[in-house]
Symmetry: D2
Subunit: 348 residues, 4 copies
């Protein structure tokens, strides 16, 4: 008798959806039992994504048509707004909802409204939701029924910074984060700005000065370190599919050194399954985590006095989204957090 | 009778060399009279770069074999170190030397030695050399005999920052510059780290904390604004050939606003041939200056109090190197600075 | 008094439109006097293409609003179907129309209807139109009032094959052409299939077995060589913006050799401004013609008996479209065919 | 007690080597027990490939230093020439050698010498070697001690063509194969021609008329169909890391149709673990097999009479090399051929 958990992937026609499917295929305790897709209901999964056409998967359907009595866990890969509406209805019917959208990340509904330009309609659920930055929420995730998976930029920014802020080694007031992301982070959309020709052989900043992930970063810094921050987050879009870098110039507390920062990172993540603090001087590269759930990080001396440079890389679709979602589900079930996530980065 | 200036391109087998050749082809007053190439002497230009194989160009030769009596101007596209040795010998023989290397950028020989790991052997020439950040050296360049063309990162960093520093609108003490560059900036080399497979589908920082162009930026900030700085310069290498972004979080002087910064940029460059301050809110993209000598810049509000974000883009090979070199020669001759440089960016 | 020809660019919001604008900027005898754009009428040119934002260009307008009395030549960069409708109305009002669409390429209206899935409504104009494969139509183009510019695949296929077919060196019955093209050939569209993520890091064939450009190739082979053909044309889409290769396995006529083929190519193009027959054994690369109006070609021995391999490369947007359009206009006016087209390929 | 087979990866510093390592990590019955690397002996695996730095792997060593008594199987990821020399010495010491090089592919030593420009020094082993085009060698592979894994182009060419040739549906005399490959196929080398800037934003043919994989294709066609062939194989290099297409114009035997071809493909591969014959009209794309051991294929009507077009795609490093190597080892051991190879293609 199969004891697998039955998973529904909501929004299976998008990139985070198919990434969840890809990872579940190598997971020994989960099977895909339902796929939903707003605009593509009725289509075969293989017609939506040709890389999974040989699998025996359910067709896409409208989420209203899913037999929820057959589902244990829903991975919600929906746009914000749509996500909360859907989750509010299915949460009573399933054991666990792992939300990959932004809808339950910010605890303050007013901040949510200001950030996402729409009110939050399910504020009571905000209290229930566990913010799933996995390595910093292991206890909270146990038995969690609703998990809000962090944004990709918060994940890549916070993982290297939190150990330093937790130990008060750096100043939370000055955190200029510069980030680079691949194009998959923008989702699967037919828009001119995302067309190959408009993005190849060039680079650009976007969301300058007001990226939606910045308040989320501040919220977690406050929670972990008690410090107020107002980070600068400047993402740049470059011509690659997957990959994210954050580079932050941090200001050292008096008497602290780069070695102190490095040691804090090492100490915090020494038993981590997915995080590598690289050898001294070694620069993280996104290609070395491509398709994996890993985060590579390091900290460097900087010529500007009393500062250091913190660099981290992830795959925005994996550790930055669908991989961390699966890791969170593993943790919610009390399983080994690496189930389904042991695939090595695809390099070259 | 031709009144064209006869140009020698030293280091014509490299990317900045062929870019000089490309630009000169559209220049009405210069013709290529000699090409030199360390390791490829004796080869036809078209065998070194197939995109110029149909041109009637001189073969590559050793620079010792050039008949300098026939040369008016030398564009030195050589590695640092080699450049100063060569220039010291040919400077007496030609009217003008435009140096694209780092050898005459830093005025302080000790700083040069510390930065480039070798002593400067021609310190007397350091005083003669004009630092050719074109828009900030127009008067100095008139009649100049030796021009030190700025590095690509200093060009892209300083062009947007100098108008703000000159008017004391921002604090020179805190200048965290994050940069992105295409691969051509690394030169034409057979090294594993520059191979396609090691660079495609990924991104990485490099030279973290101690990039060689940082002291050059400080030197010019001091010269223009009188302020001491110690900038952070973190370059990132991404999979594109040409293009550079600098993104700097600037701290506003008390009472100053982003509008003040924007107005200073606009005022400074209102008559500039090559610099566009974009419309409010419009983000510069490297692809829109690809292959051109232009710089697009803008300044943005930032959520972090008392700060703003300055973004600029150039083509690292053109405005960042060979194009600015030609602009500097134009200015040295009292010509219209746009001669040979009117080609539009190749987009798409 | 300006004696420049006044040009209207119809469809200036597309890639072939902006490429015409780019090339005209370096043309000494043409100036842009009107820009039209179906969906973007009223917008500034620089808002449609940021790489031309610094130019003093007319705003985009509806083509019905153009003052045609002020226009000498129209470059029609419109979709097929729309192109013929527009041209039929403006042809009486201007001296010359250069059509970059497919509407006047096929002389047989039934073939047009079968190929493009719509009837041809202006068959009388079909007789007037000169098929502008420039190097093969120099006489016909003189004084031409309506020029049908060839498709990109026909241009890249026919230029190397016609000299061989004209001299009856190869068999027109067996012409398996395999082609590679960059993404710009698909135009500027907001469609999922053209999005960066769907096209990066991959390659695919398309239009397999029935590409629309195949009948056009047959038509010209018949015209030049008298032979009937039914070519195979299999294009492949790869992740680059500009560039096209055609690779054809040709069957030699009895007693003919690769040297004969090579000599025929050389003889035919010895005085050509834009075509290079490369040195023996040298393989054409698209990057070496990027942004230029050039075609590089070569022919190679093949291990399969009695065959040879013909390879040619162009930039699909330049020689494959807008560049050849300008070349055709130059020839129509009796000017040097290279006016506006002397820019070197942008490599690297 | 572990019953895993102990594997040595010879040539672990190359791309096919690290791909073997990547795949073995997900294999339930193999563990990596030794890694060798000519020039990088003594280095940690993670210093050679940062994507595996978190694994507990042996350091690289010279193959002479390996304790072969501890090794069950060697995956030889070495250059041709070096491979046969090494294999001759270790074959007596281990149960199985899976050779990824070209050294044991051609059965005729004279053909080997003519093709690879060096004599074959271990001709007695040629008879022992099983040519491991997995789907066509299942019986031969059982218990095989030396397996010669096919080249990537032969794999991608033969898989779709053999079912058609086996049933005599097409003419072996006319097989113009046009191929596209990603850059990883060239190996990990510090050469200018493989540098990013020389390969990005462009495409080119190579090995035109005389590619080394062509005789290998002929050999297998003869073996399977009894027909003599002399295929044309024209590879093209395009800017992507992984991926391969072959497109072949096939000539139908009298009375045969595309439907016959399609049915033959379907029949032959109906139980195949890794091969998908796509739905009618669906075009294979390399990105949909990226990182997987799958082959997608299809056959299309062609406008040229009595012909059809056959298209197939693989990942050149996986099914084209290391993946097929592992599949072959699975088959040699009598295991499920999919062990270690169930990972889905990484799309996007």
């Amino acid at each position: 008798m199969s004891t697998s958990k039955k998973a529904a992937v909501l929004g299976a026609s998008g990139y985070t959806g198919v990434e969840v499917i890809r990872l579940i295929q190598n997971h020994p305790k989960i099977e895909v039992a339902a796929l939903t897709g707003h605009s593509r209901a009725g289509e075969r999964a293989g017609d939506v994504f040709a890389n999974i056409s040989h699998l025996n998967l359910p067709d896409l359907q409208d989420w209203n048509d899913v037999d929820w009595s057959n589902i244990d866990v829903a991975f919600a890969c929906l746009p914000h707004g749509a996500s909360q509406e859907t989750i509010a209805q299915i949460l009573p019917k399933v054991e666990t909802v792992i939300d990959l959208s932004a809808d339950f990340r910010l605890r303050d509904p007013e901040l949510y409204a200001a950030t996402y330009g729409r009110p939050h309609n399910f504020t009571s659920l905000l209290d229930e939701a566990v913010y799933g930055l996995s390595e910093w929420a292991i206890e909270d995730l146990k038995g969690a029924e609703l998990v809000a998976c962090p944004g990709c930029f918060p994940t890549c920014s916070l993982l290297p910074l939190l150990p330093l802020l937790e130990k008060d080694l750096i100043d939370a007031k000055s955190l200029p984060i510069s980030a680079i992301t691949g194009v998959t982070g923008a989702g699967r959309k037919a828009t001119l700005g995302l067309s190959f020709t408009e993005l190849a052989e060039g680079a650009q900043a976007y969301g300058v000065g007001a990226h939606r992930h910045a308040p989320e970063i501040d919220q977690i810094i406050k929670r972990i370190s008690g410090q107020d921050s107002c980070v600068t987050m400047t993402p740049h879009l470059v011509p690659l599919n997957r990959g994210m870098i954050t580079t932050t110039v941090v200001t050292l507390r008096a008497g602290k050194t780069v070695a102190d920062l490095r040691n804090a990172m090492l100490a915090r993540y020494t038993n981590s399954s997915f995080i590598s603090v690289l050898d001294e001087g070694e620069v993280p590269q996104t290609r070395h985590v491509r398709g994996s759930n890993r985060c590579h990080m390091n900290v460097f001396d900087n010529r500007t006095p009393n500062t250091a440079i913190v660099v981290a890389v992830i795959d925005n679709l994996t550790k930055g989204s669908s991989g961390q979602a699966l890791q969170n589900y593993n943790l919610s079930q009390g399983w080994d957090e690496t189930l389904g996530l042991t695939g090595l980065a695809l390099f070259p």
